[in-house]
Symmetry: C2
Subunit: 219 residues, 2 copies
Amino acid sequence: MMEQHLEFGRRKVMAEDQIYQCGQVFDTLHLVSVGLFKIVNLSSDGREQSAGLHFKGDWLGFDGIPSGFHACTAVALDSGEVWSVRYDTLLQASAKEPMLMRLVLSAISAQLARNRDAALSMGTLSADARVADFLLQWAHSLAERGMRTDQINVHMSRADIGNYLGLRLESVSRALSRLSRGGLILFNEKGRRDISIPSLDALRNFIHDSADRTANNVH
Amino acid sequence: MMEQHLEFGRRKVMAEDQIYQCGQVFDTLHLVSVGLFKIVNLSSDGREQSAGLHFKGDWLGFDGIPSGFHACTAVALDSGEVWSVRYDTLLQASAKEPMLMRLVLSAISAQLARNRDAALSMGTLSADARVADFLLQWAHSLAERGMRTDQINVHMSRADIGNYLGLRLESVSRALSRLSRGGLILFNEKGRRDISIPSLDALRNFIHDSADRTANNVH
DNA sequence: CGATCTATTGAGCCTATTCAACCGTCGTGG
DNA sequence: CCACGACGGTTGAATAGGCTCAATAGATCG
């Protein structure tokens, strides 16, 4: 769809590779072709948190647009590939092809929406529900891309997940254990990073229930 | 700067007025001219959280771009005014005027950055530091717009602030009291929503210190 | 096989929440 | 006019949920 209008530079990456680093000058955007990437945000005083997870079809690099310098670091969580375009080139192409501009705006706005929902999760849910929601979103991302959702592999360590959710790694571990004990998820043989979700609806209900258990705003 | 290329519809609003509502079809964007607005995000299971605060110069409505329906509700926290443009019109104008497109992309990306930073705050800071950071960001927003930062008026209730920060209203109240006792902020006569910040640097240091007090990732 | 890294689990602590009482302001109606 | 209720804010006491520290186990790799 976009390939017809744009030249992409292709770049293969290995796990742990950085696509761009915080502080670098920004001039190019990257479209994830294969693999999984995390965006880590770090504040002036040294705190850091992964601010987003990106799959095939997602763009990387928007954080550099406002200032011209990247505000985050993009890290591959797995081997993969990205297609890169210069921002200027993309803008010129979008001026000629309205649909392209719509696509880009839609992509950024979708990231905004995901961040909002992640913040909602962090602000309103218990640790267990947050982890459950994380898995649900993951499954949703896979489903959108036509991949299987009954057997998902989280390529991240407990520490990474915790960092993303605003929890400590031990809390993530405990939450997963509790979810497992409750039958909402299943650990697969050989590797506790492979998780099955017997019923997405059950998981959704769990989040819902634990949400309005705490949300006693009624009085 | 944009007025020369676009026709804006002007709309005056009162406190509590909604600019658009969650679920409505999206077709127009709004530029804040005067006033303060909050964006409230609500999930399918009824949780809700304010997902952003918007001042003069900020855009409202991006949440409707991906799906064509608004995912949030925009509420005025004060009387104010917004300038509205149809999204289609804006896109057509941007195709002719490259600088306009850059401005819009920059505006969206800036919102992404603010959300990321808010999430970082929620994920890594204690209640006191979160409230301090909130005030600091507020002051920063005022400064960007050339307004005074030594005397800020938070138009929001403790409940609203708490909702934005992922805290209960009592926790916000306590945090403000503690900051006040520590001399980092001052409540002004007549109204505990008027707050002075004697030193922005002191506030920044407080956040920094309380951050690496908890961030004992070292071992 | 040891070294290292990741995950799990327990015990105790600490912090934000919950529940509740109380105060001050504002607006309304007897 | 003042009494009353509604509302927003503050503060206290007790609770609970997540964090810290620590020990243990499994996995991976040289």
